[in-house]
């Protein structure tokens, strides 16, 4: 079947088997191997992608379900955000991509060891920050509870998400202040609204269908 959907900011048309998993379509047909397979049963989160902004396990999602939807994979993270920032000239072709603040924070905080869980972890964190720019520790735990990591012990991952959130907020505040100064006091209210565009956009996102369950629920029955 012919699928049409938005993939990392670009309209994509691709032929897919009706029973193909989204994970295999991405990795084997579209060449996006940044999305990893850790268990094939929706239990580890390594294959997390964003579907209309919400994290889903692509190993449990039939490719057919992508029709007309908006998909973000790890490959689209730096590019997508630098496209939005095109005025600042980041992420130009041929150069290393301007990293997303989450990617920067995962690096600087030491939240990456083997890196196999990292793409899924970062996408789950992105979805969280898009909806909730200033999450507390419990909210971070909740959002990342479907993504297993065996290397780091998770402490540095929590710190990285907090750091990225702080950086994004500082950047947003700075941008808003600059815009306000440029526009003059009369239009301040309007620019404050647009500064929070990401959050507005993602709260409108549709439910993903296989929204990830909290691993803690099965943990209780261990």
């Amino acid at each position: 079947m012919l699928l049409e959907f938005e993939l990392n900011g670009r309209q994509t048309r691709v032929e897919a088997e009706p029973t193909q998993r989204t994970l295999d379509l991405l990795r084997d047909v579209l060449g996006l191997t940044g999305t990893k397979e850790g268990c094939g049963r929706g239990e580890c989160g390594a294959c997390t992608i964003l579907l209309d902004g919400k994290p889903v396990n692509s190993c449990l999602l039939y490719a057919a379900k992508l029709q007309g939807r908006r998909v973000t994979t790890i490959e689209g993270l730096a590019a997508a955000d630098s496209a939005a920032d095109s005025a600042s000239g980041r992420g130009a072709e041929g150069n290393p991509p301007a990293l997303h603040p989450l990617q920067e924070a995962f690096l600087s905080e030491g939240a990456v060891q083997c890196g196999f869980c990292t793409p899924g972890m970062i996408l789950s964190a992105k979805s969280l920050l898009d909806q909730n720019p200033d999450p507390d520790v419990r909210e971070i735990e909740e959002a990342l509870s479907g993504n297993l990591c065996r290397c780091t012990g998770y402490g540095k991952i929590v710190k990285a998400v907090q750091k990225a959130a702080a950086a994004a907020q500082a950047a947003a505040a700075q941008a808003a202040a600059a815009q306000t100064a440029e526009l003059g006091p009369g239009r301040r209210a309007a620019s404050e609204k647009s500064g929070n565009g990401a959050a507005v956009r993602s709260t409108k996102a549709k439910s993903a269908g296989n929204a990830k369950s909290d691993r803690r629920q099965r943990g209780a029955s261990r």
Binding site: R27, G31, L32, T33, G34, T35, K36, E37, G38, C39, G40, R41, E43, C44, A46, T73, I74, E75, L77, A78, P96, P97, L99, Q103, F106, L107, S108, G110, V112, Q113, C114, G115, F116, C117, T118, P119, I122, I140, E141, L144, S145, N147, L148, C149, R150, C151, T152, G153, Y154, G155, K156, I157, V158, R215, R216, R218, G219, R222
Partner: protein, 774 residues
């Protein structure tokens, strides 16, 4: 080398391979694609023991997309792998089934799905035998032999002093038996290899692996090819923790055999179930201990008898046996020690290397004993440990004496100091909230030998190459599986050559390009591999310094290399007295000075008596002290870790950020072993070979680990460093058990101590009978 003012060493730096990992560009083995690539999958036995009557692949071969079905007879070589000769594990079994994951045949097909389907369609005729499921059964007279020489895989003794005399002089003796469960590595990336036949009579294998040279040797033997025809390249490896050694050799051999047979690239990817039941686990253990002391707490004698359930194949059991044996005495000065350790075959998934390598099991038992002794003596547990702590100049359990880098007392003191700075969580053993919360504090000390030690010669190779632009390429024979060794190697090269980190590239391990460096195990990468990088970089440096001295018209002693410049000392700030390293390197090239060096680091040989294990065994030990405060909910058994201090003497922290990562990650793995993770067997088959039923710690289980770095320099390591990859596992598991005992007043002798175990014990119910080794 320690007198220098370091510019890179000792700084917390981000991973050198971090950008490709956070952007998803890093190519793990499963991400590689080759034209016409095929996939292979094994038909597993599915039953734990039996006689193979026949294997019929004809139905499988007739399925669409299937290219070949291989059985034992298709392996050109001896069809056997292992760690120590005589090897005992077949690639494809023909005679007997010894565990449920036994591979009987391999299907090669055009897709993973087709290969799996066809593997299931292979007809096998097996006379099922009653499996041998525990250590006592395996050792009983008249028991069926799992291997021709019987069911004892390996058995060794350590004897120091005279334990009978020691116990006769002891005024207080504690004695107990402890059990630990099998544990799964649960790295997020399942085992994966791709074998690519070359047009030149060679075969290249890309592998998610830990020990590429080990794999190369087995592939060459089983293909009946010279090793020089086989090239193994380590792909980005998504965690290993000891686990991607035997199994990577197994599937590396199978993929290579298949690739040469069908003359196409062949990938094998394990699914998660196979990754759990079809590759090695941590040994389950039964450990009987006795410890005797004077009334003042001076430990006089320790005795331990250890049984390890090693499952169907030897794997690393012989070395795990030795490591458990050597470490059972604990990090204490004990004049009389006797330990016996025996690994036993059973019809279960085989056990082998797993971060800590026998040390977490014995440390849990040994440190439980110390707490039980402290209770008998009515002494503070940390004070009792400090009193007996091994110090520089004192003989450890193998009689080895280190006159430096024995930082145990420092770790105890730093933990005590930090504990006293922090507000008390609650008094030990006290309860609050109407008796709902039980509070407890546990501590544990540990040691972990660094280097191969008793396991054989310890050598590592490294190459360092400066280009004309002054950038540096480093190759090392030891692998980065996520622990960050590439970053440490880059730091060492950058420090020696005076370049910034962005000018250094550490390439993936390729068996063509460096000396066989043995396995990447035993927390030895930084210590032994780092030393090889240091030596190679020093040679390249001497060319650059010589060239710079000619250009600066000064003595070589006055040339400093720093921040990508050759600088005339002492006028480091004078811009006219410095030359960009790029110009120096270019001039050195055109002058004909060598800009590449291949160095070889060899640790001092272990020398010891094989009957008593007395002698010099490891080049250094990591020493540690952990302290954990817990709160247990009396109504639900839920445990909350309120505080976790983890102090390790690691000689020198080359990358403190990486050290914290190793400590925090190792700690949570130890916590999993102590509280959450348990392989459930039924009739020899694993019942929970998935992440829904096998409880890998999630982010909600994470610990508030605070890493405390103690640096007592190790003369055998680069910049004084010694490894820290394994030790945090043992310290955390042991401290948890002691904290739970302090909180509940109940001494749990079996790991994991799960929530339901706690609840049952708190409710006064009898706990279940012994299973795995009892």
């Amino acid at each position: 080398m320690s007198a220098e003012n370091f510019r890179v060493i000792g700084r917390g730096v981000a991973r050198v391979d971090g950008v490709e990992l956070v952007t998803g560009r890093a190519k793990f083995a499963g991400d590689l694609r080759f034209p016409g690539m095929l996939y292979a999958a094994a038909r597993r036995a599915g039953i734990p023991a039996g006689k193979i009557r026949g294997i019929d692949g004809s139905a499988a071969l007739a399925l669409p997309g299937v290219r070949a079905v291989l059985t034992a007879g298709d392996i050109p070589g001896p069809n056997i792998i292992g760690i120590l000769p005589p090897f005992d594990q077949p690639l494809l079994a023909a005679g007997e089934v010894r565990y449920e994951g036994e591979s009987l045949a391999l299907v090669v097909a055009e897709s993973r799905e087709a290969a799996k389907r066809a593997a299931a369609a292979i007809r096998v005729d097996i006379d099922s035998w009653e499996p041998i499921l525990d250590v006592d059964e395996a050792l009983a007279d008249g028991c069926r032999k799992i291997h021709p020489d019987g069911n004892i895989t390996f058995s060794k003794r350590l004897v120091k002093g005279d334990v009978e005399k020691g116990f006769s002089e002891a005024e207080v003796v504690v004695e107990n038996t402890y059990y630990t469960s099998f544990q799964e590595h649960a790295y997020l990336e399942p085992e994966t290899v791709v074998a690519v036949p070359g047009g030149d009579g060679r075969v290249t294998v890309y592998a998610s692996c830990q020990s590429p040279f080990h794999i190369r040797g087995h592939i060459a033997a089983n293909l009946d090819l010279p090793a020089s025809r086989v090239k193994v390249i380590q792909a980005y490896t998504g965690g290993s923790f000891g686990g991607k050694d035997d199994v990577a050799a197994e599937i590396g051999c199978l993929a290579a055999v298949a690739a040469l047979r069908v003359q196409a690239a062949v990938m094998i990817v394990h699914d998660r179930g196979e990754s759990i039941f079809g590759s090695n686990l941590r040994h389950a253990a039964r450990i009987h201990y006795r410890t005797g002391s004077r009334k003042d707490g001076t430990i006089l004698a320790r005795e331990a008898r250890i049984y390890l359930d090693g499952g169907a194949y030897a794997s690393e059991s012989p070395f795990v046996t030795m490591k458990a044996l050597i470490h059972a005495g604990g990090p204490y000065h004990v004049p009389n020690v006797r330990v016996e350790c025996t690994a036993v075959y059973t019809n279960k998934t085989y056990c082998g290397a797993f971060r800590g390598f026998g040390v977490p099991q014995v440390t849990f038992a040994s440190e439980s004993q110390i707490d039980e002794l402290a209770a008998e003596l009515n002494m503070d547990p940390l004070e009792l440990r400090r009193k007996n702590a091994l110090r520089a100049g004192e003989a450890n359990a193998t009689g080895q004496v280190f006159d430096r880098s024995v930082g145990l007392v420092q770790t105890i003191d730093r933990v005590a100091e930090r504990r006293d700075q922090l507000p008390p969580a609650a008094a030990e053993g006290s309860s609050a909230n109407g008796g709902r919360w039980l509070y407890g504090r546990g501590c544990a000390c540990l040691l972990q030998g660094i280097s191969n030690g008793a396991e054989g010669i310890d050598v590592a190779g490294a190459s360092v190459q400066a280009s004309q632009d002054g950038s540096v390429l480093v190759g090392v024979g030891l692998t980065d599986m996520g622990q960050g060794s590439r970053t440490v190697f880059a730091q060492i090269a950058a420090e020696v050559l005076g370049v910034t980190m962005d000018r250094v590239t550490v390439r993936q391990v390729d068996t063509d390009s460096v000396h066989d460096s043995g396995p990447t195990v035993a927390s030895r990468s930084t210590t032994v591999g780092g030393m090889a990088v240091y030596k190679a970089a020093r040679e390249v440096r001497s060319s650059l310094v010589k060239m710079a001295s000619l250009m600066l018209k000064c003595d070589e002693e006055r040339v400093l290399l720093q921040d990508n410049f050759a600088v005339l000392a002492p006028r480091a700030d004078n811009p006219e007295a410095r030359i960009p390293l790029q110009e120096v390197a270019t001039a050195a090239y055109w002058t004909g000075f060598p800009l590449m060096n291949l160095a070889f680091s060899r640790a001092p040989d272990a020398r010891f008596d094989h009957e008593t294990h007395q002698g010099k065994i490891y080049i250094a030990y990591n020493f540690g002290t952990h302290l954990m405060d817990v709160r247990i909910d009396r109504l639900t058994g839920a445990v909350e870790v309120l505080r976790h201090l983890a102090a390790h003497d690691l000689g020198k922290a080359i990358n403190p950020l990486g050290v914290e990562g190793q400590v925090e990650g190792g700690a949570l793995m130890g916590f999993g072993m102590a509280h959450l993770e348990r392989i459930e067997h039924e009739g020899g088959c694993i019942q929970n070979a998935n992440f829904a039923d096998y409880a890998v710690p999630s982010i909600k289980d994470r610990l508030p680990t605070e890493t405390i770095i103690v640096e007592d320099p190790n003369p055998t390591g680069p910049y004084g460093a010694k490894g820290v990859g394994e030790p945090p596992v043992a310290g955390t598991a042991a401290a948890f058990a002691n904290a739970v005992a302090a909180a509940t007043g109940i001494r749990f002798t079996r790991l994991p101590i799960r929530r339901e175990d706690l609840l049952a014990a708190l409710q006064g119910r009898d706990r279940g009978p012994a299973e795995e080794t009892g």
